[in-house]
Amino acid sequence: MSTPEAILSLSRRAVIAPAGHGKTELIAKAAAMGQRTLVLTHTHAGVHAIRARLNRLVVLDRDVSVDTIASWACRYVQAFPRRANQPPLNPRGRDWDAVYLGALSLLSSPIVQQVIRASYDRILIDEYQDCEQYQHAIAMQLSCIVPTVIFGDPMQGIFEFVPSRISWANSVANSFSHAYELQVPHRWASSNPDLGDWIAQTRQKLMNGQPIDLRDGPLTYVATNNPFDMSLFFDGMEGRAGSTAAIYCWRRTCNELAKVTRGAYQSIEEIAAQRLIEFAQAWDEAQANPHLRGQALRTLLEDVMTHASATSVTDDAALPAAWCHFCQTGMACDALEVIKLERAQETARAFRGELLGDARRAIGDVAAGRQSSMVAACEAVRHRLSIVGRAPVARTISTPLLLKGLEFDHVLIPDASHFVKQQFAAAKLFYVAISRAKHSLTISSPSPILQFPLPNL
C-alpha cells in the first residue's frame, strides 16, 4: 500500500495522486522519515503547503528542504555559472530555458553529483504533471544520482497550451514507472464523503470520455444558459459558511462577473500580475507628465472599482480636489490620498481588491522612498505575495489555472457548458474545478448532461 514507509523503498517511480487523496500528507510524512530529503514542486504556494504540513509534523528545516524546481535550479546554476554556461542572473520568460539547460549540464559534473549525494538521500517531486520538458530532464538526471519519487495526477495537467509541457503517457510513464495510485479521498472524509466519491467517479468517467450527468450526484444543478445569472451567486449565500469559489475558464469573464457581483466575489490576479505591471510601466514612463500619471491611476481604478450608479456623485469636494492636485504634482503620496478618498466613498466597491491593494502598497513604497521605480515596487510586492501567499478571501471568482491546488468549502460553476468548449484540456479543467469543492458543489448549465472529449493524458 501507499504508506510513507513504502515510498522510502522506491526509486525512479511515480505515484498517481488524484485531487484530495492525501498526497501532501504522504509527501510530508515520507520526507520526514528520511535523513535528508529534498522536496521539489512548482510554485511557492506548493512549497508553503508542504512546509506547513512538515511544521505540523515537527520536522526540522535542516532535515527536509522544500523548494521550487526553478529556484533550486537557480541556486545551483548561480553557484557554478561557468559549468552552467553563464545563464542570466535574474531570469525572466525564456531566460528560464537557459537556467534549466545550465542545471542539466551541471548535473553531469561529478563534483556537483558529489554535492547532491552529500546533501540528499531522497528526492520527492510534487505536481509532476506540471513539469515542462527541461524540468523533466532535470528530474531524470536527479533520479540517476539519488532515489527519486514523483507525485502527480495526469488528470490535473491543465497547462496543455504550453507547448513545452510534457505528456504523462508519453514521457513521464516511460521514465518513472507507475508505483501506486492513491485510493482514499481524504479531503472529503469529514466534510462530504458522498461528494468525494462522486468527484472520484467523475474523474474516472472523464478519463474514459463518458458523459457526466449533473442530476445524479450530491451536488446542486441549476438549469440556465446565462453565466451572469446572479441566482447562482447569491441564492443561499448567507447559508454558506467558510470559503466560496466561483470557477470560470475565462479571466476577462471572471473580472466582469466580479464587477457584476459588486465585489461580493473578488477576482484575483496571476502571480505575474500583468495589469499591475501595466500600470507601473505607465506610471514610470509618465515621469515628467503628472497628467499622464493621473490617467494611469484613473484607468486602473476603473478596472478595479465599481460605483452603485454613475449619478451618485458626493457633495464632498475633497475627492475632485485630490484628483486635481495629484494630476498637477504626479507625486506618489498624492496618489495615495486619491485612493484613500475613492475607497472612502459610500457607493464604491472594489472587485479586484488584490490588484487595488497591491497598487496601493507599491505606491506607498515609492512614496516612502523604499523603491526607486513603480515597476520595481510592484515586482517587489508580487514577489512578497508569491512567498507569503494570498490573504484569505471569503468569496473568490477565478479560473481553474489560478485556483488549482487550493480548496474551498463551496464551489460554484457558472455555465459549465463553456468548459466543454475549451480548446485545451477541457475535461481536466472541469475535473480541477469540481475537485476544489470540500462541502458543496453547485453547477449551472443549459443541459444536465456534459459530454467532454477524451482527455490528453
Partner: protein, 572 residues
Amino acid sequence: MRIERLSVRYFRGIKTLEWSLKGQPICCLIGAGDSAKTTVLDAAEAALSPRWITFNEADFHEVDTSQEILIEVTIGELSNTLLADGRFGLYLRGLAEDGSINDEPEDSDQPVLTVRLSVDATMEPVWSLVCDRYAEPRILSNRDRGMFCLVRLAGDEARHLTWTQGSVLSKITGANDETAQLLAQAYRTARTSANLKSVAELSMAAGAAEKAARKLGAYVSSEYGPDLELGRGRFNAGAIALHDGLVPLRLAGLGTRRLATLAVQRSAISEGAIVLVDELEQGLEPHRVMGAMAQLRKWQAEAEKDNLPRGQILMTTHSDVVIGELPPPALFVMHRKDQSLSGIKQACAGGDLSRIMKHAPRALFARRILVCEGATELGLMLGLRQTYAGRHDNVPIEQLGGAIINGQGAAAPPLAAALAWLGYQVALFRDSDRPLDQKWAGYLSKYQVPVLEYMNAMNTEQAVFLSAPDASVEDLLTVVKEGISEATLLDHLRGAFPRTPVEEDFSEWGPPLNAIAHRLALANLAIKMKWFKNEERGRAIAPAVLNIIQENAASALAQCLLNIEQWFYVDA
C-alpha cells in the same frame, strides 16, 4: 579532511609563504631553528580551529599592523557534512592535478574549500570562504569551523583529558544534544555516588581512548576510566577527568600524556581529522616514537582500505627517529632565505632522498651537508672530522650545522643537487678520475654546489699514495695489514711487485721501479683489492692522511682536504 594548500601573508615571522602539501596524509615539517615551522602550524590552527583567537600587534609581521594578516587554507577530502548544499557545497573550488586552483571546479578537479582568515589593524579576525562566484563572502562561524575537525596536540593537553566543554572526550561521548543531558545526568549520578564508571557513556568513551592509547604506545598501568578530580575548584564537566586507575592521566609522564591525548582525539573523529602535532617525539623514547609513527600510519592505511577519509597529520620534528619512520613523500623542508621569505619544499620532489631518510636522517637537520662520493671518502671524512675540533676552538662541525653523508657513487651528484634545491648548503666531495656528467655539472653550478676533488684527475687512492711521504706509505700499509691480515697483504704485494722486497719497510723497496711508480702501483692495487672501499677502512686511514696533509701541504690530497675543512669552518 586534508589541507592541500596553505598560504600565509604577514603573520608573525612569515612575510609570505606558499605551501603545497601534495595530498600527503602525513606531512612532517623540518627546518633549521627559527625557520617558523611552529608559525606554520599556528597559521593552520588559527584558520581552522573553532576557537576564537585573539590577535595582538606581535602577530603582525614585523609588528606592522598596516599590513593585514592573511591566511588561506585550501582543504580537500571533504566530509559529506561540508559538501552538502546547505553548508558549503555551493562554495566548492577545484584543485587541478597540477596543483593549481580553479575558483569554479572543472569536472576532473578534486573538490576543495578555501578558508580565509584575515586580521587588520582592528585586531578583529574574520573567517570566510574564498569563492569568487558570490558578491558577498560567506562568513564562517566557530561552529562552521568546527566541521573542519582540526585538533592541535600542543602544550595544553590537560583540557582534552577531561570532559570539559568543547573537549574531545565530550565529543566522543556523543556529538548531539544528548551530551548536555548526559553530563547533567553524570553530575547527578556523581553527586550521589561519585561512581562515574556507572555512566555507561563515559566509560565507553574512556574505553575507546584507552584502546587507541595502548596502540600508540602510551603506558597504561591499570585501566582508563572517568573519575572526579577533586580539589580542582568548581564542579563542572571539567572536573570529570580521564583516570588511569586512581591516578588522573593529567599527572602521567609527558610522553604518555601526549599519546593519550592523540589517542583521545583520534577516537573522537570519524570523518578524518586534521591533527597538528608539535614535535611528536616530545617525552618519548626512540622506540615509542617508532611505535607511535607506525600506529599512525597503520590507522591511515586501514582507513584507506575501508574507503574512509584518512585525515591528515601535520607535524614538526627535531628527531631523526621520526624521519626514519616517515614515508619519503611525507617529508617537507622549510628554509628561510632571509628575514621574510619562507619556502616549504617536498623533500622528494628534487630527487630521491629515501636512502638518507633511512640511513642518515640526522643530516637533514643540518644547514650544510658534505656529500661524499663513496664509502672511502665518507670514512676518511668521518675520521678527519674528529680531528677538526681540536684545531678550531673545540668547535665540531655539527655545532656549525655541518653534516657528512654518503652519496653512494653515481647517485652522489643528483643527491647533492636535490639537497641544494631544498635549500641546504651543499658541497660534493668526489674522486676526479671520472669526469662529472655534464648535466649534473650544470645543475650543481646552478645551485652553487662546490665540487671538491683532487687535482689532475686522481682518485682517492692515487691522491693518498702519491701525496704520501715514505713513512706515511708505511703507515697506510700498516692500516691495511690491520684490516686484511699481514699474510693477505703480503700476498697482494708479492703479486703486484714480484721483484721487490715487499716484506721490508717501504723506504727500502728501491728498484726496479722508482718511487712514483711504486706509489702508483700501490694505489692501483688498493683499488683492485678494495683496501679502503668501506667506511671503516676509510676512517682507519684518517690519521695517516692527516699526517700527509701536515707533511705535504702542497700535495693534491692536502689541497683538496684543506678546501673541505675550510668549507666547513671558514665559509660558515
